[in-house]
Amino acid sequence: MAVVTMREALNQALREEMLRDENVFLMGEEVAAYEGAYKVTKGLLAELGDKRVIDTPITELGFAGLGVGAAMAGLRPIIEFMTFNFSILATDQIINSAAKMLYMSGGQFKVPIVFRGPSGSAFQVSSQHSQAIESWFSYFPGLKVVMPSTPADAKGLLKSAIRDDDPVIFMEQERMYGNKGEVSDDVEFTIPLGVADIKREGTDATIVARSLMVPMALKAADVLEQQGVSCEVIDPRTIRPLDIETILKSVKKTNRVVIAEESHPYFGVSAEIGSQIMERAFDYLDASVRRVSGADVPMPYAKNLEELAIPGVDQIVAAVREVAYLD
């Protein structure tokens, strides 16, 4: 165990899995010589060489599709998007090729590929560079979607994603690369996909949070504890498939739930989780499911407006107080 940043944890996962399996290669914009726009791939070119770590032209649709083809022919590509905002250019290959290949080939062609990179808001990079689009990818059967919130989760889940035989969308959070935490240095350390993590146990209300919202939810739980409210914080970690059972179990215990997310509220992940809770645990609810989401606007540039657009600790606290009928 050592304390490392999320960036270093991801780097360890990439390095270990590439050393473990020579069919794993890493491709993307600035991943090699530049060592990654966010330095996640630091040192990999020097250690593994340019056959395994490949700089691409700015051609997202092209290299995403190349990755899918290479996976069909037996390799295990890791395709880095400098940010998931740019994956929008590649969605045809992710959705029409990667997600459906196994099914439409009658089970003949699996696509073991990881599409990874930072997602969500960064620091004042405005509308086109601050999008949390996990609900898009989570919509499609055939894809798996992972969003870690701690360095340990990032490492363990990325290693599982690379070893998985299906296409995995692995969304890191730009603001969290510097976050620190204890991480195992055992090369066989992995965290299974599809398993939620109870980040904090509690009895009065459940907060379901992912990615950037997890540390916010934990802070909110601290604040609420001072106010006499005990919160359970659940991080699904994998959005598809979703470990709804762990969430339901918690809701049945606390009878109140707030779902926090950075993304827009419309047709989003929180809508799906809320709906499933309603369908399967309605009788246990003492209050309506409450969502805390990013503002329903394109991300503004101005610092004060950007802060208003991203949910914070205060909003989560207010939402929990609301479902607990404290105000």
Binding site: L61, G62, G69, M72, S105, K144, V195
Partner: protein
């Protein structure tokens, strides 16, 4: 090394052998050289270099896919086949000529107009017909249909429904073979309309940048659905576009099966030896509509007939006959054998069961995860 594309025939306005096609409402660009004597001479020369079994094999395959598709059209009309059904009739020389130039362990990918490629690559007519019928015995277990045929055994990797979608995929397959250090090549077929997609340009750039053994075969049948090339492409010399990526390119007569085979062989050599890509622009023509529901009001009957004079099967049959490769009796034997093969395919498809209801939920994930399960 770079092969220049020959000058397209429309630059030879004074050449009396170039047929003039009515421009309204059909807007096909001129065919490659229609100098029949020159074509015949060239074919004669190509024929002489090949053994009889190879020639017969190629001819047999062309007749097989033609009759197979005629039968598929019939089955579609009688409601046995659903969805879309894009026929290849008229273009047979391209898939069969090109695939005859590669090995079984080489790869091929194509668009949704794919029945011929699938069969030429070694898939059985039975598994292709059963797939069209949406039956469990189909190559994709009835889950893919006409547009999504696959067969791992013969390295046929689909069958793709989004125009140009297969081009980056094929580039990736070529990347994988080079990565693994094999000498396999990848054939990537697509229509000329795919050339207007970014995926084509992105792929060619990467293929030459990284020296990938992919052979891009543009089947220029001159229409993207109902829109002629002239109405869709500002600069229509597709082979010339390879220059933008410094990729070797050739312009090929797509009605001459042996011309396609030879051009592909040259490309295969470049790919196997030096991991170099090639772009072939193969000028062809589809005799049927874009799909079975095509009204055909965008081109004239006369235009279609004009091209049918150069029916690739008829052209090849004439050469085989003239050179004494096949006698009349042998032609009949091939027809009879093909008829039997197609009937067998139809019978297999008819007899094959529907996919079981449980199949709806299989093959979504290679590694299905039960959420919450810690191992």
């Amino acid at each position: 090394m770079r092969k220049r594309a020959p000058e397209p025939s429309r630059r030879q306005a004074g050449d009396k052998s170039v047929a003039v096609i009515d421009e309204e409402p059909g807007e096909a660009i001129d065919s490659p050289s229609l100098d029949q004597e020159a074509v015949k001479e060239a074919q004669k020369e190509r024929l002489s270099g090949l053994d009889r079994a190879t020639l017969i094999g190629i001819y047999h395959e062309m007749v097989l896919v033609r009759r197979f598709e005629e039968k598929a059209a019939e089955a579609y009309s009688s409601g046995k086949i659903g969805g879309f059904c894009h026929l290849y009739i008229g273009q047979e020389a391209v898939a069969i000529g090109a695939i005859s130039a590669i090995r079984k362990d080489d790869y091929a990918l194509t668009s949704y107009r794919e029945h011929a490629h699938a069969i030429a690559k070694g898939m059985t007519p039975e598994s292709v017909m059963a797939e069209l019928y949406g039956k469990a015995g189909g190559c994709s277990k009835g889950k893919g249909g006409s547009m999504h045929m696959f067969d791992r055994e013969v390295n046929f990797l689909g069958g793709h429904g989004i125009v140009a979608g297969q081009i980056p995929l094929a580039t990736g397959v070529a990347f994988a073979t080079k990565y693994k250090g094999t000498d396999q090549v990848t054939l990537c077929f697509f229509g000329e309309a795919a050339v207007n997609q970014g995926a084509f340009h992105e792929s060619l750039n990467m293929a030459q940048l990284w020296k990938l053994p992919c052979i891009y075969i543009c089947e220029n049948n001159q229409y993207g659905m109902g829109t002629s090339l002239k109405r869709a492409m500002s600069f229509q010399d597709i082979a010339e576009k390879a220059r933008a990526y410094e990729i070797a390119a050739e312009f090929v007569d797509g009605m001459d099966v042996l011309a396609v085979r030879e051009a592909t062989q040259r490309a295969v050599e470049r790919a196997r030896k030096d991991y170099l890509p090639t772009l072939l622009e193969v000028r062809t023509y589809r005799f049927m509509g874009h799909s079975m529901s095509d009204p055909g009001n965008y081109r004239t009957r006369a235009e279609i007939e004009q091209h049918q004079e150069r029916d690739p099967i008829k052209l090849f049959a004439a050469s085989l006959k003239e050179e004494g490769v096949l006698s009349d009796a042998e032609f009949k034997e091939i027809e009879a054998k093909v008829k039997e093969q197609v009937e067998r395919a139809v019978q297999f498809a008819e007899d094959s069961p529907l996919p079981a209801a449980e199949e709806l939920f299989t093959d979504v994930y290679a590694n299905p995860i039960v959420p919450g399960k810690r191992d």
